[in-house]
């Protein structure tokens, strides 16, 4: 199991990332991926710009821990998490998670697990610009519930 974690400002190309993960590994029978994007509306307001801050060092460690937990739970080969930081605007990609495995069930579950845990444990914070000014996005209880269900 190899875990790849990258946190940076630059955009990413999911196709190229999947190609690189699959390269030379014919044991991979399934690839599941998720991309999160910036929406133009949040809490009923138009969002013009979004700024993503993180806690360098802890972010990477936490993402690696989450991927390691996923590989303890499911038979998977590789995990990739890319999370962008800095200034983003609607339509931009924010995050991607890719998981490879022999069969689809493991990739699907691990991909969702990683994303649910990322939302509640990885130290990132969003600040958005709306017509009413700038505001920090509040944590959502729905996200806590999504992470909680993996404990059952």
């Amino acid at each position: 199991m190899t875990c790849h974690v990258r946190v940076h400002e630059a955009d990413f190309d999911l196709g190229a990332e999947i190609k690189a993960l699959r390269l030379g590994n014919p044991a991979i029978g399934a690839v599941a991926s998720f991309i999160g994007c910036v929406r133009d509306m949040n809490e009923g307001d138009c969002v013009g710009l979004m700024y993503l801050e993180h806690y360098p060092g802890m972010t990477e460690r936490e993402l690696e821990k989450i991927c390691a937990e996923a590989s303890d739970r499911w038979e998977i080969f590789d995990t990739l998490v890319i999370h962008r930081i800095g200034e983003l605007k609607p339509l931009d990609q924010i995050v991607c998670v890719v998981v490879t495995s022999a069969h689809r069930g493991e990739s699907f579950s691990a991909c969702q697990f990683i994303m649910d845990y990322l939302k509640t444990r990885a130290p990132f914070w969003k600040r958005e610009s709306t017509p009413h000014g700038e505001r920090w996005v509040d944590a959502r209880t729905k996200d806590d519930a999504a992470a909680e269900r993996w404990k059952q």
Partner: protein, 85 residues
């Protein structure tokens, strides 16, 4: 006998500081005691770190509960609930 305090996101803005060296005294040996000392500064510290407010504490980059010990040389980060992804 100092620790590094790190404040992030909304709390960094509210406190007006991102990082500071904090001198430990003998009575500050847990996260709870550290928070009590910070609250005594009043203003935004008293308000944001009041009991019942939603914030997290990480010691050396691991999220901990407030009974976790604090030692000289530790990096103690205080931040709002996370909102990435």
């Amino acid at each position: 006998m100092t620790i590094q305090l790190v404040f992030l996101a909304r709390l960094r803005e509210r406190f007006g500081v991102s990082r500071e060296a904090f001198a430990l005294t003998a009575d500050i040996d847990t996260v709870a005691a550290l928070l009590a000392a910070l609250r005594k500064r009043g203003g935004a510290f008293a308000e944001e770190l009041a009991e019942g407010r939603a914030f997290r504490v990480a010691v050396n980059q691991d999220v901990v509960t407030f009974d976790h010990p604090v030692h000289a040389g530790d990096e103690v980060a205080i931040f709002p609930p996370v909102t990435g992804g």
